[in-house]
Amino acid sequence: MDKLLSLPELRANPFGERMCLIFSSTKDGDCTFEDFLDMMSVFSEAAPKSVKAEYAFRIFDFDGDDYLGRGDLEETITKLVSPQRFSSEDMEALVNRVLEEADLDDDGMLAFAEFEHVISKSPDFANSFRIRL
């Protein structure tokens, strides 16, 4: 995995580790060529939004339980703003806001349907979730 993370596409990416883990077929972060091909094809321009949303969900799902719970959201936000840190009240307010906006059935977690629903409407998503080789 270290070799992968030294590639220019992944070295500055806070989600680089997650990406390697998701796409690796052996689940330990090492990718075969086919896994790498998978990863690049999902991040390419021609990949449809549904595929991108699917893999984005998996990347943000840090504990792997198919839900984006509070822990996942906190982890995502932390990774996004490191080395800065939010205070715990701010973090909680942020997570509450996110859940308020996206969680439609009020179970405190984001299911894939809710995630896809809110993310595929955003035009920035397709633009930012893209690696041009």
């Binding site: 220019p8 070295r11 077929s25 094809s41 943000f60 059935d105 299911a111 409407k121 998503f125 041009r132």
Partner: protein, 735 residues
């Protein structure tokens, strides 16, 4: 069929190995299926052709992708600065390629025949009859021209440069095409030696040339058609791109302004960043953005009372009035300056350069003023501020260019009415009703080629813009060398508007100076490398966040608007304008319109009937009605769909609540809490451990929520038949 399956396969979310397996099974099934039912030869041929065509298309696309221009440079820029700046450079590349194609067309169809004409050796019988020569006594009417058919079988001698006799009686037209010396500042002014080169409209001949026996290349027709077709090509290409971008980026954005937090969290990281430094800056950006919107939300902005809102509106209105008045003043000032220039018939190069210099400085400096002004006005979001600045800058450019073209056009239209009787002019001039009388007497002394002069103005504007741009970039470079602290930012809005200004100059000047695409192409190449150098070495990534996707659409729409306006300007000039009688492909015709009647009459009378029928008021009104109805239908469909979206969203909420309820129910069943006898209760008795996602199990979407740790999908299917069955069906339909 083939394409549908490929797309369905592509959309399936499985690792590559799995997809290969599916495809193998698909082709196996297809080939076995084919054995059982022999298809006719014709159908087999059709299938083969369509598959081959698809493969060819794919390989061509791949090749284009491999050889895309400036790929390495763009990747470096994007890696360091993010997608926003990258989109500006991509727009630059797009315009470059478009203009290059256009320049090639212009060179091929207009430049080459003209050069051939020029270099062909002089024929002894230079005054032999050419198709457009009329006897001096005949008035120039379409009927008269019809008499002069192409002489049937003669080898038309190619008319040379020297024997260029205008068709109208020659007394009124100075032949302004004498070659001039190459002066010092001629590169800048475009006058002098350049006057008689192919750079300008004036030097294109109005003859029909014969390139081979019985083949005629009519220069006027070619000129007109090429320009017209080029505009249509530009229009179609840009329109198509605008529609594609709009579909991808802007649909439904108005209806969904609420989920800003979620969007910021999930889609703000730019995955194309590759440098550590840029990543740090991006982290900081996201932090400040999140903090800002959190503050906004937590502080719970009060509803502005009426007084404050009215005050806000008043302030904005005042600023708009000031800006518009300023623009009007500017327009009047440029008109006065131009008038002075034309009035005094300036020939000295330095004096000629003054107007373009001032205009270019205005165009480059005033937008900076606008950006500062708009900060004071108190618009709510940065995006609104950007749009307001953009609109004002575009208004500024249109004012300046409009005044330029308008002034020259009025000069042309108020030309002497009777070119055959120049001796009447001194009599005409003292009449007080003619405001341009004084000008006319002086006008006959000048080269009577207003198109060339206007083309020269455009050339000067382009070159001056280029030079001042270079100076500004040099200034940036020097400043960044001197002090490391004042590192400037790459303001995408300003640069893009500048690019659109260049493109507008190209379109506005295309008729008068056919080589503008070539000039702009060269300019873009040089600008690309210079800006890239400045960007990578002197500037820092922009601190303010950038919504690249929507901005891209807006810029393209602005380009489209400029194009349409120039097109209408041309139509207006063509319909009303008078040609100059000494130069250009349309010399010999008093008005441009006469050229149309000439073509129409010469070719077919039915076209005239059709055209005159088409322009009848009834027909035009009918067409307009149909268009209005279509627009109304489209708008109501869009509104209906928006309603539908609301309804479906509500349904989604309800379904998710259903799911939650049923999940809890199943949980209770599993724990044995559920009492009433349901036929499927015995399924719940055997809780299965979570099976790891098995890649070879092709019938379930492994990431969907039903395969969570609490419930095994097989338990679930009878209780909620819709969801998982739907999933199974969609996957099974592929096998």
């Amino acid at each position: 069929m083939y394409k549908l399956e490929t797309e369905a396969l592509r959309d399936l979310v499985k690792p590559l190995r799995v997809k290969k397996e599916i495809r193998r099974r698909l082709t196996a099934r297809r080939s076995s299926h084919r054995d059982s039912q022999p298809i006719t030869r014709l159908r087999g041929l059709k299938y083969t052709i369509s598959m081959q065509w698809y493969k060819v298309k794919q390989s061509v696309q791949d090749t284009f992708h491999d050889y895309s221009l400036w790929h390495k440079e763009l990747k470096k820029i994007e890696g360091t600065f993010g997608t926003g700046v990258g989109s500006y450079f991509r727009f630059l590349r797009y315009l470059f390629l478009l203009n290059l194609a256009i320049a090639v067309l212009v060179c091929g169809f207009l430049l080459t025949p003209q050069l051939l004409l020029r270099t062909h050796p002089h024929q002894p019988s230079g005054t032999a009859a050419t198709p457009t020569t009329t006897p001096a006594t005949q008035a120039l009417t379409p009927a008269a021209l019809r008499v002069e058919d192409d002489p049937p079988s003669s080898n038309l001698p190619v008319v040379t440069w020297a024997s260029l006799t205008p068709a109208v009686s020659t007394s009124g037209c100075n032949n302004s095409l004498t070659s001039k010396e190459f002066g010092g500042l001629d590169w800048l002014t475009g006058a002098g030696w350049f006057d008689t080169t192919e750079l300008y409209y004036g030097t294109y001949s109005s003859r029909d040339m014969s390139l081979a026996a019985h083949q005629h290349y009519s220069m006027p027709k070619a000129y007109f058609l090429v320009i017209f077709v080029l505009f249509i090509v530009y229009l179609v290409v840009i329109l198509r791109r605008v529609v594609v971008l709009y579909k991808n980026n802007d649909i439904d954005i108005e209806h969904d302004m609420s989920a800003s937090f979620v969007r910021k969290v999930f889609s703000s990281w730019d995955f194309s960043i590759t440098e550590r430094k840029a990543a740090d800056i991006k982290h900081k950006n996201i932090y400040s953005e999140l903090k800002e919107i959190l503050q906004e939300y937590l502080s719970e902005e009060q509803e502005e009372d009426m007084f404050q809102r009215v005050k806000g509106w008043l302030v904005k209105m005042v600023f708009w009035v000031v800006v518009l008045a300023f623009l009007a003043l500017l327009g009047w000032a440029t008109y006065a300056m131009l008038d002075l220039d034309i009035l005094h018939n300036t020939k000295s190069s330095a004096r000629l350069l003054l107007y373009p210099l001032i205009v270019t400085c205005i165009i480059l400096v005033i937008p900076l003023v606008f950006t500062q002004v708009v900060r004071v006005e108190g618009y709510s979001t940065p995006r609104t501020r950007l749009y307001v600045t953009l609109v004002r800058t575009i208004l500024l450019e249109l004012t300046v260019l409009g005044v330029l073209v308008g002034t020259w056009y009025t000069q042309a239209v108020f030309a002497p009415e009777d070119p055959e009787k120049p001796e009447d002019l001194p009599v005409v001039s003292p009449s007080p009703s003619d405001p341009d009388g004084k000008l006319e007497t002086e006008r006959e002394e000048r080269d009577e080629c207003w198109e060339t002069s206007l083309g020269q103005e455009f050339y000067r504007l382009l070159i001056m813009d280029f030079i001042i741009g270079l100076v500004m970039h040099l200034g940036t470079f020097v400043i960044s060398l001197i002090s490391q602290k004042t590192a400037m930012e790459f303001n995408i809005g300003r640069y893009t508007v500048h690019l659109i200004y260049n493109q507008t100059l190209l379109w506005a000047g295309l008729f008068f100076c056919p080589l503008t695409p070539l000039i702009v192409v060269i300019k873009i190449i040089i600008m690309f490398y210079i800006q890239k150098f400045i960007l990578l070495h002197c500037l820092n990534p922009d601190d303010s966040p950038w919504r690249a996707a929507q901005a891209e659409t807006v810029y393209l729409v602005l380009t489209l608007v400029s194009l349409i306006l120039s097109f209408f300007g041309y139509l207006f000039i063509l319909l009303k304008g008078k040609t100059s009688c000494g130069c250009g492909p349309f010399q010999g015709y008093k008005n441009y319109v006469d050229f149309f009647w000439d073509i129409v009459d010469r070719d077919q009378e039915t076209i005239l009937t059709i055209v005159s029928w088409l322009f009848k008021p009834g027909v035009v009104a009918g067409l307009l009605m149909i268009l209005v109805i279509l627009v109304y239908c489209a708008k109501s469909t869009a509104e209906g769909r928006a309603e539908m979206i609301k309804v479906l969203r509500h349904q989604l909420e309800l379904e998710l609540r259903d799911r939650a309820f049923l999940l809890k129910l199943t949980e209770r069943v599993r724990q044995g809490n559920y009492r009433p006898g349901r036929p499927d209760s015995h399924y719940a008795a055997s809780p299965r451990p979570q099976t790891p996602r098995e890649p070879h199990d092709l019938t379930q979407r492994s990431s969907f929520v039903f395969s969570d740790s609490k419930v095994h999908p097989a338990d679930y299917s009878p209780a909620v038949p819709r969801f998982s069955d739907y999933q199974d069906e969609s996957a099974k339909s592929l096998i």
